[in-house]
Amino acid sequence: MTDSMILTDVSDIAARYPEWITADGRPGYSGYIVAADHLLEFCRMVRDDLDYDLLSMVAGVDYITENMMEVVYYVYKTTGGGALVFKVQTPRDNPVVPSIFPIYPGAELQEREIYDLFGINFEGHPDLRRIFLWEGFAGHPMRKDWKEPYYEEELKPFKSRWPQGHVYRAEDELTPLKDNVQFPAGFDPYDWEAEGEQMLYAQLRKLQNAGDEELKTDRMIVNLGPQHPSTHGVFRMAALIEGEQVVELKPVVGYLHRNHEKIGERNTWQQNMPFTDRLDYISSISNNFGYVLAVEKLMNVKPPERAEYLRVLFAELTRLSNHLMAVGFLLNDLGAYFTPALYGLEERELILDIFEIVTGSRMMCNYMRFGGVVRDLPEGSYEKIRDLAFDRLPRKIDDIDAYLTGNEIVRVRCEGIGVLTAEEAIKYSLTGPNLRASGVPYDIRRADPYSIYDRFDFDVVVRYHGDVYDRYLVRLEEMRQSIRIIQQALKAIPEGPIMTGKSAYQVRVPAGEAYGRVEGPKGELGFYVISNGKGNPYRYHVRAPSFINLHGLAPMSRGGKIADVVVNLGALDIVLGEIDR
């Protein structure tokens, strides 16, 4: 800094550069609006001088009536505390924003997502391709004026469905082609030349000819997935390999892109709740939690005590079931074909039983409501949870620990594999167990406590090597900490109501923006919602931990063997419903 003044707060920057940074004064909004041409300078100041080192979320918003698009950034300090929010605005007809990739590499995939769905160009982005859809897809679907083929009305509930309840098939009524497709006028499919994967392979081919000159080795592009037994779903990796060694690796996603955000903006607030279940379908209650926190911030309601305890109780049970599966399937990827996974699944089934008793569904729990939870514990379920938490699960986790942790094959395959240093992990915006395995004690339950987590006594699990083995150890230990929280919650849970106010089918949410985040089992799960005061969200964006943790996959795998890529992926613990949304 040429200036001697020390920056301690973002308001100092705002005060110093009033010509390109202004506070966001719209009612219900917060943060700062930065001029696009000073964005990089601003980011550098924020990261280097103010220590906001973790880029959490980048989201695009289309304000069609103001004829502009906005990119919203949330950055945090890994030492804890609240968010710094800043925004960049750009005209709708030629949306260009500088890429913040040079400062926050964790923006790479998120900027690609915005480019794909909003059509905002990010200048200086190293690899700006469509991510969820394919090259050649007509239009940018998240723009407010883009209509899907089954478009019926702007907002739900649709007049055709409510209150009369008229039922028809969308194929029969809505599109001339009797299918969920639409084409530009005058389009001739016989002339179409598919763009295919040329842009992806071009990125990899840049490095293809840089092989060893003396040995005249060949570098080869290998695709893993989307149908592959160890990619945890329809995930695909395009790897450039030299012999067995990975030179470069690109995750290819979008095979499960189910348009959560577009559907979410047509849905009413309450209708989105079951859709959040289907994001990270292994841990649905955590997803509910993030969404209700965001909307409750806007509505300014607080759930009653008992509901808070129930939320924490079930969020931690979800974390347990997720980690049991994550550990099991990591071992699957290591080649221990299904035996450890079956041990994990056995315990998970018992947790699912509790979910089924309490919420009515094994997986898609749809448990929380704005201002509470939907059902109280039925008779007998308290005892079931108590027996699990105090007796069975601690024992079983010790069993898994005894079988796996010291196992020689596990150690040889995991130690020193896929190493990410703390700096790298923060740089690539990793969160959750993956970040903590790299030695950064960042757990939102501690760093920025939500709900009633500040009342519980638990340790933030940290390991320091940043390899696959440490990621496994963090998950194992986190299960023990979750059990501690459950035990405390079971002891302290008060009697009382489970909802604030009366339950309603539809809620009105005051205008404004809010970001609710929880420490999900996979990392920071955030929901960014904008309300314009109506019954539907104007913008509904999910900050999916699996998606953003993918930034770590290539740096983990580069230089390693192709067989370790699968292990790295298992250790990242991704779920495709959340990556592709």
Binding site: W134, A185, G233, R258
Partner: protein, 224 residues
Amino acid sequence: MSTEELNTPGMQVPPELQNQVSITTLNRIYNWSRRNSLWPMMFGLACCAIEMICAAAARYDFARFGFEVMRPSPRQADVMIVSGTVTKKMIPQIVRLYNQMPEPKYVIAMGACASGGGPFKEGYNVVSGVDKFIPVDVYIPGCPPTPQALLNGMITLQKKVDNESLKEVRWYKKGASEPIPVPVLGPDLMDPRKFGLIKEESQKMLEQQQMPGTGPAAEEAPAV
């Protein structure tokens, strides 16, 4: 099929040979052996895949019913369980996998999404049911179906296999069966069987736009 049914083709076994010789028809013994060794493909799409894993795991264990082991390769699989939302980006691969499976092959559409689009039907990247492209034998409702529902669906498939006749099945007819044309990703998903229709409709739309005073332009995406 119970052992009794299998062994009583309507022919009387002499009393002295009972419990030593069993008589059956070719159809019955063939279907009986096939229905008890249907191997599913290890092919998970979305949420339903997790329930499929649960159905394969210790508690529900579909190996008890002859779905012995899941094969990751389509070449070794008999049943494709389409377990999850079928997206436009994924359907070319699904059709290709289906084409790679050797006959006889069966398809189970597991859950609401695979059967008809489910909660995500209105999404722009979602195919309204896998049966738009590949033939489906059994539909299982649910979101996601419980492992019990999946088992029920699989047993239903076994009943279907029981009723097949060697004389009529497709895979003993002359000539190879036609592969399903793989969909193409264009401005939207294009089914090669419908290219003519797509062209026709797009032309119609163009004419409508060029005609003055026909109201708003067709609802189309802006050019990329």
